[in-house]
């Protein structure tokens, strides 16, 4: 073994150790802390805090918001990815950049955007009051804010897959008389299904935990517009430590489950690609 090899091995050990230490200190330890605090006095107090009316309502609202936002963004992601990879049109590069905006913009700004649009000072306010539609400080606002923040996840996952694959299988299907829906279902979808699921999982994880944008448009009406992350913050501020950590434990558990799901999907998709691509 030469000098370089030995030095590389030392470097490798240092870097790997540093990475593990960092992840343990800043990610794993705090999360364990959350779980430990939640179950500090046993399962019974945990269950009592979680089954509290407002916590249960917050969880329900979070789930509704997440489902709606993920459904919208899945649909949008599919359409955008299809449009961007299958057609050429002016402003295509611009559209791809726009899709990424939520990654760059602070979620608080996103919330403010909706306040400025649909709130009392917003241009849409007169129209909304006239038709008795509530968006800001109501569930539609929460859904819109979540959609905004989780906008890129699905599209981002599908676009590279569709780009790498080219259009010839679809052309072949169209030449053989397949309509748009059939082409999508039997030719395109099998290619992107794992990427799509992966995107949906990431989107769900992000939507469940969204705080900033939702906080701005929520109005913090307990039992009505409080999602789980907002509820946790309120509980914590009111020194309901056990209750807030118990609710937080639910979010942590969801995140862990989604991570496991993500890894499984990743594994399957790699195996799938081995069988079918080249």
């Amino acid at each position: 073994m030469n000098r370089w090899g030995r030095e590389n091995r030392a470097l490798k050990t240092v870097l790997v150790a540093a990475s593990f230490a960092f992840v343990a200190l800043f990610l794993v330890l705090p999360l364990c802390q959350v779980l430990w605090k939640a179950f500090e006095f046993g399962v019974r107090p945990f269950w009592d805090s979680v089954s509290d009316t407002y916590t249960a309502k917050a969880l329900k609202l979070s789930i509704i918001t997440t489902v709606l936002a993920v459904a919208c963004n899945t649909l949008f992601g599919l359409c955008a990815a299809w449009a961007v990879t299958r057609f050429s049109f002016p402003g295509k590069g611009f559209l791809v950049t726009l899709i990424d905006i939520p990654f760059a913009v602070s979620p608080v700004i996103a919330g403010l955007v909706f306040i400025m649009t649909f709130g009392r000072l917003g241009w849409a306010y007169p129209f909304l009051t006239e038709h008795d539609i509530k968006i800001v400080f109501a569930v539609p606002g929460l859904v819109l804010a979540t959609i905004f923040v989780t906008f890129p996840f699905v599209a981002r996952e599908i676009i590279p897959v569709l780009t790498a694959r080219g259009t010839d299988e679809e052309e072949a299907a169209v030449l053989m008389g397949a309509g748009l829906f059939r082409t999508f279902r039997s030719v395109t979808l099998p290619h992107i299904r794992w990427a799509l699921l992966y995107g949906v999982i990431l989107c769900t994880a992000r939507a469940m935990g969204e705080f900033g944008a939702v906080s701005v448009v929520s109005g913090h009406l307990r039992g009505r517009t409080n999602t789980l992350p907002l509820h946790i913050e309120i509980l914590f501020r009111e020194y309901h430590t056990l209750q807030s950590f118990s609710a937080a434990a639910i979010l942590v558990a969801t995140a862990v489950l989604l991570l496991v799901a993500r890894n499984i999907v990743e594994g399957i998709s790699r195996k799938d690609a081995d069988c079918h691509v080249r």
């Binding site: 299907a173 053989m176 059939r182 030719v187």
Partner: protein
């Protein structure tokens, strides 16, 4: 979008305007028609124009109309003759007239015109970027031409949806559906036509037998070799019984060893089925060996179209003279004896077989027109030697039989240059050595 489909209008009746008529509607009728068309015709020679009898001009015209196809679809044959006389030049099954296409600033096709008789195998040959694939995709309907007419079977198809043109398409990388097994790939076109299940099974079995792919129905494309994939692509394209088969660089993705074998397999298969076909290639030997008619494209233009022998023997343009076969381009060939009539600085192309090297020690024929040459290099080409000679400052290639006295670099020999392809602007023509032809040289140019 497209003309209203008429039942069984495989050969559409002419419309009063001379255009239109419906392509085959993708119905069960289409599937049931397929039975007679898959029959292997032993006497397929009739459907393939013989390369030995080229049309007089560079442009393809009525060569040998295939009759086998008509007998396979008797009810329509009467209508075809009517359509042919009214809508298109006789026996031109596929024809393009003044087709243009540009992508932004890039003009991929300029005034492309050619026609192909029924039952023949045509090759679109040209260097990459010459527009050949674009032309093929326009025929299929995957690209829309900016102008010009595309006709298939006598009717204009410009405004007809790709799936209704009755075309089978084999993509360059086959574009097999990677998430479907072989059976589902081949059955796809039949399923979209809503053919009955039993019929689909029967037809797929038929095609897999034809392509010797029986027993591999359950395999996925990723589990097949390149040659097997090509055969699946071929079977899939043929399954819905197209009237025209288009193949985009069908051999490009296959390694050289298998390529030759597949080439003759495909040639054989197409002539057995008698289906009019066009394939795209950049490999001149592929086009020349496989096709009945070769359409040479360059810079989006059709340089010349004709049977391979004709293109080789009588190139119409400098590009064709250089692109087909081996040749050396000479500038100012007027100083060669026998070509004194050439304008100064004129260009010409010389093929190795136009240059005869007189073996040393043997009497030199036509001594007054022979040139002195110095052998620059000798390389062994299997059955003969290839010489590079220096003649009056030109470097020429020639073949030399192994039977003659051996030559080595530096040797001085006499050479006779029988003929050249003289370039005149964008035209090329054959010019014989005047000193030889005035005496009747006894060498007839035979390939």
């Amino acid at each position: 979008m497209c003309a209203s489909p008429k039942p069984a209008a495989f050969f559409p009746a002419p419309e009063p305007a001379g255009i239109g008529g419906a392509p085959p509607p993708p119905t069960e009728a289409a599937a049931s028609r397929s039975a007679p068309r898959l029959e292997l015709r032993p006497g397929a020679g009739g459907s393939v124009s013989s390369p030995g009898a080229p049309p007089a001009s560079g442009r393809l015209s009525a060569a040998s109309p295939a009759s086998g196809r008509l007998s396979a679809a008797p009810p329509a044959s009467g209508r075809l003759s009517a359509a042919a006389t009214l809508a298109a030049p006789a026996a031109a099954y596929v024809s393009l007239e003044g087709v243009n296409k540009s992508f932004g600033d890039f003009q991929a096709a300029r005034e492309v015109s050619f026609s192909l008789p029924e039952g023949t195998l045509g090759a679109l040959l040209g260097p990459s970027g010459s527009g050949k694939t674009t032309i093929l995709r326009m025929i299929a309907g995957l690209e829309t031409p900016d102008g010009g007419d595309i006709r298939i079977g006598g009717s204009r198809v410009n405004d007809i949806h790709p799936s209704r043109r009755g075309i089978g398409f084999v993509f360059q990388n086959y574009a097999l559906f990677r998430y479907m097994n072989v059976f589902d790939n081949v059955a796809f076109g039949l399923k979209t036509q809503k053919a009955p299940k039993a019929r689909i099974r029967e037809r797929v079995a038929e095609l897999l037998a034809l392509t010797s792919m029986e027993g591999l129905e359950k395999r996925y494309p990723g589990q097949l070799s390149g040659g097997q994939r090509q055969r699946v692509a071929f079977a899939r394209a043929l399954a819905p019984s197209p009237r025209l088969l288009l193949l985009d660089e069908p051999f490009a993705a296959i390694d050289a060893k298998v390529r030759k074998e597949l080439r003759s397999w495909l040639r054989d298969m197409i002539s057995r089925l008698g289906i009019t076909s066009i394939f795209v290639t950049h490999d001149q030997s592929e086009a020349i060996e496989v096709a009945d008619l070769v359409i040479i494209t360059n810079g989006g233009r059709v340089e010349q179209a004709g049977p391979p022998v004709e293109l080789y023997r009588d190139p119409a343009t400098p590009f064709v003279a250089r692109f087909v076969g081996e040749s050396t381009v000479l500038s100012g060939y007027g100083k060669l004896s026998g070509f004194g009539d050439a304008p100064s600085g004129a260009l010409c192309a010389v093929r190795p077989e136009f240059v005869h090297v007189c073996p040393p020690g043997e009497p030199v024929q036509y001594g007054h027109s022979a040139e002195d040459a110095v052998v620059e290099s000798v390389s062994f080409r299997g059955s003969s030697l290839e010489l590079v000679l220096e003649v009056k400052g030109f470097r020429l290639a020639s073949f030399y039989s192994l039977e003659h006295a051996p030559l080595s670099p530096g040797d001085r020999v006499k050479v006779l240059i029988y003929r050249v392809y003289a370039f005149d602007g964008d035209k090329a023509r054959l010019v014989n050595n005047s000193l030889l032809s005035s005496q009747g040289n006894g060498y007839n140019f035979i390939i």
